[in-house]
Symmetry: C2
Subunit: 264 residues, 2 copies
């Protein structure tokens, strides 16, 4: 069956990059799974395949855990022909549930791959420190009603910046390499809300959430600032902080070379 999106006779492969926003609350994470239909990748593949008229594969920049959100996840998809205007942002969006949206779609050179071509990522972790959790943002913040020392958190964050072996800051035992570069961690807050922004080459399984739990312990004063680097050297998961819950985490942006990120 040939989808309506083809110009007659033009079935040349074309690679598209998608920028995707989703509310992860209802989903079992990004990655397609055999035992559930509630994954972002699975739903995107099913809706794009339906719109195209044949089965397509959607490759994300990386997995996000169950419950994690995205304002700017990216994915690559190869179509057998040229997508007409609005194929992704109108036709596919109409098929998607209201908690998943394709924000942008653009043609890339063949060979582009959302994960392999990525050079960096930005995550934001949102914390609600008010005694009473916000009624409207409760799906998108971690309710942590403690008095936090933001200056101490920022100092610890600076110690974590740079290129390190982050073996202590992951829950996956068998990573091939645990070396990553964090360009910046920014801790900012006002009025009962603290956001922590992470920029780096890439992040290990659970890394951003463990970094966040560790910084929160520093903020509460139950952990010394220097302990965050001692843990790097010890490569020991038990020496760092708790796993902050998924609901506060957003994948905000994935960087690619042509944006000349970090090249200025």
């Amino acid at each position: 069956m040939t989808g309506f999106l083809f110009e007659r006779g033009d079935e040349k492969m074309r690679t598209y990059r998608l920028v995707i926003a989703y509310d992860g609350t209802a989903y079992q994470g990004w990655q397609r799974q055999a035992n559930t239909e509630m994954t972002i990748q699975g739903i995107l593949e099913s809706c794009i395949s339906k719109a195209a008229g044949y089965a397509v594969e959607v490759n994300g920049s990386g997995r996000t855990d169950a419950g994690v959100h995205a304002r700017g996840q990216t994915a690559s998809v190869v179509l057998h022909g040229k997508a007409e205007d609005g194929f992704f942002t109108e036709k596919v969006n109409k098929l998607l549930p209201p908690d998943i949206r394709i924000r942008e779609a653009g043609l890339e050179k063949n060979g582009f791959h959302a994960r392999k071509s990525a050079v960096g990522k930005r995550y934001v972790y949102q914390i609600d420190t008010d005694e009473k959790p916000d009624v409207f943002d409760r799906r998108y913040t971690y309710h942590f009603p403690k008095k936090l020392d933001i200056a101490a958190m920022q100092q610890a964050a600076e110690l974590l910046t740079g290129t390190h072996e982050f073996a202590a800051y992951t829950d996956k035992k068998d990573e091939t390499s645990t070396k990553r570069t964090i360009y910046a961690i920014m801790v900012g807050g006002q009025g009962g809300r603290i956001n922590i922004q992470y920029e780096g080459t890439g992040f290990l399984y659970h890394m951003v959430r463990i970094l966040t739990g560790t910084l929160l312990e520093v903020g509460m004063g139950t952990r010394r600032i220097e302990s965050v680097t001692i843990a790097l050297e010890a490569k020991d998961r038990t020496k760092v902080g708790f796993l902050a819950p998924a609901r506060g985490l957003f994948l905000d942006e994935v960087y690619y070379k042509e944006k000349s990120w970090k090249e200025e």
Copy 2:
């Protein structure tokens, strides 16, 4: 049974004012109903009664429709004794579901009544004009992907400001009085979002949502600006705009005399 909140022998009646925030998405509106437990008033009464140890009544500043939200609904409640610190904002809040929260509670003179003592209200209606609805704010905005003329909407809004018979702008046929005073309607917007703020002495059933539907028709250019006042004089519901959906509407604040609102 005597609740723990009483000082020994002190069962003097005391009147409290509550400021309440709620996400109305899951509820059948403010007002208690015999056939459903999903009302804000019903749930507040049940949780406060449980915390107090006896049945209490909660009187709101007014009803909100099914699906309408509040950042600052108010209610009065009479207790048989003095509430200890944190009775409402901690003890009762712990019993409430995460989409209803008591933001503040304060002692008032006996005789205070959240509805009868109110002198004004502020509502905000939130509109998402982007082609693709926002994934995270979809419960709190009306998705209306049209190009809107904000200046025209503001002109129509100014014609509606003042003291008028608003019979055309309600869906209730038998109001005793339809005279209301609107102090201000402010239409503001940027980046795919338009908010309309309404301040006035009070609003009739569906009035804010019908005013919003009418202003949106002006913004689209399908309704002339002057028609909004012609409709006031005609007192004819069919001469004004559509009923904008509940999800975009927030009751933001209820005003009382001691705030010297509009007295400066």
